[in-house]
Symmetry: D3
Subunit: 220 residues, 6 copies
């Protein structure tokens, strides 16, 4: 089996699927990281931040043991300005190359418009005649996005829980790589909040720590 | 793995899960049939109908290759008069005995109140600390119930498709056992309608014939 | 009465409303086909495909007996790049000219973004003070779009069923005109899938073949 | 055509469907009133109230010009204690006798449990093979019930608006018959509230006064 | 202001509203505890368990500083066998006596049928002309019930967050009184799970610990 | 406390929040009006209409007693062409300046795409770590937009009712300033329709006239 996680921005993959990715590796899967957006000096980011971001991606890539990292470098926080077709074409190319059987996408109610657009661009993944290798599609939750989400028009309803107890420490280690994105609790992107969410999902499923997902489609 | 299907009335299991049950057997699972209601002369059914029903159950039990058949014999079309606790207790006993890992239940929007009550009685199956062996719970669809269902307050949203192409003929054979429940198309419980539904679900998932389910909860 | 079908792309009208359009004609209605997108060599389509498309539209127009065909020629698969106001203005012009009383639109959960955008652009059709002649608005379902749709945020809930038994053969004939869009079953755009869906909708409503719709608004 | 309104209690029919019933009569339909509950001295009602209720029913029956009045006399505010099957059997008998083509039922989210139970008991009306004469089923709204309803689990979504401008005065006259159920505005069952709701529904549909419904199912 | 919490069973009030109740007291409100069910030797509970339960109620009553404790003693886990009207009448009496302005009720999607029935019985609390003193109605969440709930037909959507940081320790102390209901984490009714949930709700609202609610209705 | 209303176009604030804004002033709050779009000769509006609009804004600003009026002047009916980030940045600036604790936004199901886009741009208001001063966010309803809304994918569910009886006359006076936007009843933007809606919301909450809102999030 092959597993891919679609991240609108680096750190989504760790927050939402970090433990599961390590578990999939332990189970013998190949795993890939598809990062949709990127930052660059042209978009007004400092060279320092851009270079730091490169190092973060490299470090997390090692910690989460990805086999492949794909980067599309669409402009962060500006995906609504990109023609949907360009997004679909770029992601589609990665899919045809990696041929994942399991796909993790952001949730359609996430508060960040980039997340919702990535979800929409990934919608056609469900068409078996386009991507016959895809067998399971799951939405993950992103602390500070899903929990503030547009819950009125759609809410995260976890129906798929995975035990990630053995992988929590590495997940936290990967999280710490994104030091500039973290802050002290009760800030949602903090170690304590991440552990608390894993505990709440674990209490719901019988594990010391769990990641929760919403299954969109499985076929087999 | 062990698979159980909860049927409010005999024929639900064939209509909704017939192909999947045969597939699970072929995959090496043990399978069980939990029939919640029964008919009896005391409830006003003719001795002939009651005996015919016995034969139907026996025949279908053989055709679908069930390892176990559990019968609770609550009064058909009168489940709303049974204390919920009695239902839960009886089903719970079967669960503790068979220890299923995969559970198929009727859909919560089915038009028949018996179906909705069975769904409700089975709700606590999700509590991992009560039934630690349960790992996957799926709602199935029942032609003539789900398709007329209370779609306003909840609608069948299939997100789990299983290829049952090799098992369609036996499924139809099992269906024919319930001759008295069938009528000519466009009656929903007819061979043509059953094959058409399998085709529509197949077109959605890439198989010549499929059964579709709504995943309620999976853990592992 | 006058009936109009809004098709994001040619073949939607046949898949979703083909039988009903023929029935409306038989009932004495005038019918119109509003095709929102078009293809052209400038967009990278071969001259041959463009000319074939012209022939398809002409043939289907005859088979479905349309009184009027309106073509807006917005770029296919790129509607998200068109200002919504331009879409609304163009469709609005057609509405003021044809003055339909019955309107068929794509479903808001269809997987193709063009379908969702057409739905959104048509939303103001509900305003009686803008289009006083409109009395009934129905969403239709499109095989290979509605069945893969974003069911999480909205799902097709048919509440309006029309008997199209006498028109199925002509509907299939019209479908065959779009030979390049079809493939063998279980591909959703195939004769067998179309007939199976008509049978499933028929079983739900008591007809040998039916088309199903979701009523958005009726006034009278 | 034949139209039936199912009222959990007398006055529901006037509040929700009063104007439409008069319009249907004017259009040449036969109309029937099915009153599900009744009051009696045995249930603790005074002989005076019971006799007053009889007179109310008679008067409203004349004002709304019903062709038939069916009364099932199940205990008011206690429908949850009645076996669902008894309710279904009793209503079913009326349906087979009157053979309505158009059916008005209370909304499934009404706050009064009697309303929700009547809705549930009427659910099987959708099965065409049981009631082949039924072609259209609509939920109506009841001031003081629908507007306080369990909106969380289902909300009244009007999609069917009927012009009842010419019938508002008679509707109000019928309402006044239920003097003991009325109180001064802002009490919901008051002339002013009824006229205001008709105006709000009219503004949404282009009429001076309208009644709004939610279409559950139409076939034809 | 006066605040009342409706608990299907003792411990719901602590799990869902423990911190908020203490905060309301600190803010000068009077608070009341309405316990809907009870246990008794007649229902098969040991005299020891019944007497222990009495002590628990007394201790928690002191710890949460309730001004009033109302006990209806309907049979636990058997509310579906109680006529809804009896429940409504009994609760209504308490309401007329205490005249609360703020009401906390269990969530309508909780997995325990007792919770859903209490919610339903409390529905009419929204009618201002019956309970003119009620101004705010909120659903609370109950670990081990709401998190396993019938999320398919309605899901807990918190939209109201209260900072309970200063009261967490007393809340935990009250929780420990129910020793027989607790077990070790990942059991949902455990100190760690309760603290984790408070942290997750706090991260969503900016507090070290929060309780989350779903507002049903506020007027003023 | 400080209250801000976000209006896609002038008149939304009066229709949806007019009475409440006056009440908030009477309660001692500061209030602000954030007008997202503007019209200009460059967009094809006559100089006369533009100047009339200026006068309307000035007059309404006085009548509703706003402390602050912020105008972003994005192009009306063309918000879908504006990068979301530009909208967010502009609104964010106003928020940081005024520091509102209570925010009124258009409803996410409004039929006008400008309303939905304003809602989306305001979504991040829920992030407490971005706008720590915001404590309550409410959606308001806009006659002629919310009542024709995309109810299929989300419907206005009022759960928050405010008594605006003393302020109705001034609200109507403010409404009349927008003479060019009004027409005779049953046109939705008419005095009679506005009073009828206030009466319907009042009947639901026990006041002679009320404005109804949907609470999205409150924290405190």
């Amino acid at each position: 089996m092959k597993t891919i996680v679609i991240a609108a921005h680096p750190d989504d993959e760790t927050l939402g699927v970090g433990g599961t990715l390590l578990r999939r590796k332990a189970e013998g899967n190949k795993t890939a990281w598809l990062i949709v957006t990127g930052i660059s000096p042209e978009q007004g980011w400092s060279a320092e931040r851009v270079s730091q971001r490169e190092q973060e991606i490299e470090q997390v890539s090692r910690l989460l043991e990805f086999d492949e990292v794909y980067r599309l470098n669409f402009p962060a926080a500006r995906l609504d300005e990109v023609p949907l077709r360009d997004l679909v074409t770029a992601m589609s190319g990665v899919f045809r190359q990696f041929e994942p059987s399991e796909v993790f996408v952001p949730h359609f109610s996430d508060i960040h418009s980039d997340h919702r657009i990535v979800f929409e661009a990934m919608a056609s993944v469900r068409k078996w005649f386009r991507y016959p290798f895809v067998q399971r599609i799951l939405c993950y939750e992103t602390l500070s996005e899903t929990d503030f989400g547009l819950g009125d028009t759609g809410v995260f309803r976890p129906n798929y829980f995975l035990d990630v107890s053995p992988y929590m420490d590495t997940k936290i280690e990967a999280l710490r790589v994104y030091a500039s994105e973290l802050a002290e609790f009760p800030f949602p992107r903090s170690e304590y909040a991440v552990r608390a969410l894993a505990a709440v999902r674990g209490a719901a499923s019988g594990y010391l720590a769990a990641e929760a997902f919403e299954l969109l489609r499985e076929r087999g």
